[in-house]
Amino acid sequence: MKSALELAPATPRFIEAEIASPWKRARRIVRRFTRRRLAILGAIVIVIFVVAAILAPWLAPYNPQATNWSKIRKPADAQNWLGTDDLGRDLFSRLIWGAQVSLLAGVLSVLIAVVLGVPLGLIAGYYRGHLDQVIMRITDALLAFPFLIIAIALASALGPSLANATLAIGLSAVPGFIRLTRGQVLAVREEEYVQAARAVGASDLRIFWRYILPNSFAPLMVQATVSIAGAIIAESTLSFLGLGVQPPTPSWGSMLNVAQGFLNQAPWMAWWPGLAIFVTVLGFNLMGDGLRDALDPKDY
């Protein structure tokens, strides 16, 4: 019965493929190609920023914290490619160092969310019962709040610093991962291969590791990629509000915070950090979309 249901959606697609004109099929191939190209573009953007972040000490032409009173708020020229800020610091150098902060916060906070959220979701979905009830009630209650409000609340309570902002963002993203993992587990745990594994006496841990996790991998991977994009925006937002990285450490969000005070005199101070955030986040979103398309069994 179950296998018959699973076959059902495949059949019309098969027929559709048969009658699809060559023109349509060619277009589909082209479309898939462009989609993948966008994903590759996203990956390239990410690699560029990661390399810039790692090589910041060698790539940045100036010390990002070195002030220069003779070059306050100067527009871009041959020495300072993107201009200087209100303390005469080189914006290009600060931008490169800022990539470290953004990527580190983005990746680490999602790591926190995955490490906490996935096991909790596994437990809730696999064992069900009271434990599931408790975990999901709390998760629902947390999900009633906007992600950003929880992050702001935690960050302001913990005190402003990069580590605390990262922790705050990571913790705020946990409920989302719990819910997603639980949903995946609920879908997979009734499958015949899981029941078969249980029947031959595989331990719960082995079942998680060998069967449930690999089968939940695709959506978790997509969620993680897209979450990094969200986390980078969240970090820059917290820094913008003064709840993240503290001066003089350069971060894109805090650079924008300062820039807001000089919109009339030095608008370029606001252009570049925001553009950097935008492009990085776009990169992760493109890659997330690409992954979703590539991993989605329903092709449309």
Binding site: A141, A144, L148, A270
Partner: protein
């Protein structure tokens, strides 16, 4: 209701258990122990935590949310004053989002894989990736600083001067609506594409119905249901966005109040704000459920039969 109850406990606990002594923030680090003890007593902070919680909950149920410790103004008055500002902002943002996303999403789906679709997708990706506060700053830079079309910030009540009010609200509303537009557009596109493959659409087509009524009368109505769900889910994000937007455009709304409350570690403010947010979330969910039945009468009938 259970969720709401849990939320109040969690808010209370999280505010009290996290490090940082608010009394020191309020009275200053160098105060002598006596005055700190006086403040603790005055605001009931020397009571055991469960007592504090019950006192607060009891008063909150009667509509008394306490007084701000920073300003001494009753929190309820402040919220009643500020909430409408944020509501106006949110409604405008929603309006902008729906006006853009609905046609754009439909066109993207109907003209799938054409330039229209690609343009729509690009706009959606932009909306998803651009940081709100930066977009806000760029708009101020362009429309206010360069072109002098609009004031950069501030707020005027619509009852004093509707035109000036809208002139100041349009930029923040647009910024706030950006992410929303993107999410909504994508949802409408993908669910419309999904619905167009359904049997009843094929039936409608095979009856000889023209493409237009097939899309608008049959498919769209069904495709809107997930879109409304997303609308409800995103309402929370709207409030989160309002915090940033109000900060950038200096709008004295509820979002700015949240931020100030958190920064000042003002228990009364934070608790009230969180409570209002949670109630708002539940109300929105209710609204979403009602909207379902308006879009699709079948949902109501099925629900009634099930009960």
């Amino acid at each position: 209701m259970v969720v709401l109850f849990l939320i109040t406990i969690m808010v209370f606990a999280s505010q009290r258990l996290l490090p940082g002594d608010p009394v020191r923030v309020w009275v200053g680090e160098e105060r002598d122990p006596e005055s700190i003890a006086y403040f603790q007593h005055k605001y009931g902070l020397d009571q055991p935590l469960p007592m504090q919680y019950l006192t607060w909950l009891g008063l909150a149920l009667q509509g008394d949310l306490g007084k701000s410790i920073r300003t001494g103004i009753p929190v309820r008055d402040e919220i009643l004053h500020r909430l409408p500002i944020t509501l106006e902002l949110s409604v405008l943002a929603l309006l902008i989002a729906v006006v853009i996303a609905l046609p754009a999403g439909v066109i993207s789906a109907v003209r799938k894989d054409t330039a229209w679709d690609y343009a729509g997708n690009s706009v959606a990706l932009f909306g998803l990736s651009v940081p709100h506060f930066w977009l806000g700053i760029m708009m101020i830079l362009f429309f206010a600083v360069q072109l002098h079309w609009m004031p950069a910030s501030g707020y005027i009540s619509p009852f004093d001067d509707l035109y000036e009010n809208l002139r100041r609200m349009i930029m923040p509303a647009f910024v706030l609506g950006t992410g929303f537009t993107a999410v909504l557009m994508r949802q409408i596109r993908s669910s419309l594409l999904e619905v167009m493959k359904a049997d009843f659409v094929r039936t409608a087509r095979s009856k000889g119905l023209a493409e237009r009524p097939v899309v608008y009368k049959h498919a769209l109505r069904n495709a809107l249901i997930p879109a409304v769900t997303v609308l409800g889910l995103q309402a929370g994000a709207l409030l989160g966005g309002a915090i940033i937007t109000e900060q950038v455009f200096v709008v004295p709304g509820f979002g700015k109040y949240i931020l100030d409350g958190f920064n000042g570690r003002d228990y009364a403010e934070v608790q009230a704000v969180v409570l209002v947010t949670a109630v708002g979330y539940l109300l929105i969910n209710l609204l979403v459920d009602i909207t379902y039945s308006l879009i699709n009468p079948k949902i109501r009938i099925e629900g009634a039969e099930a009960e």
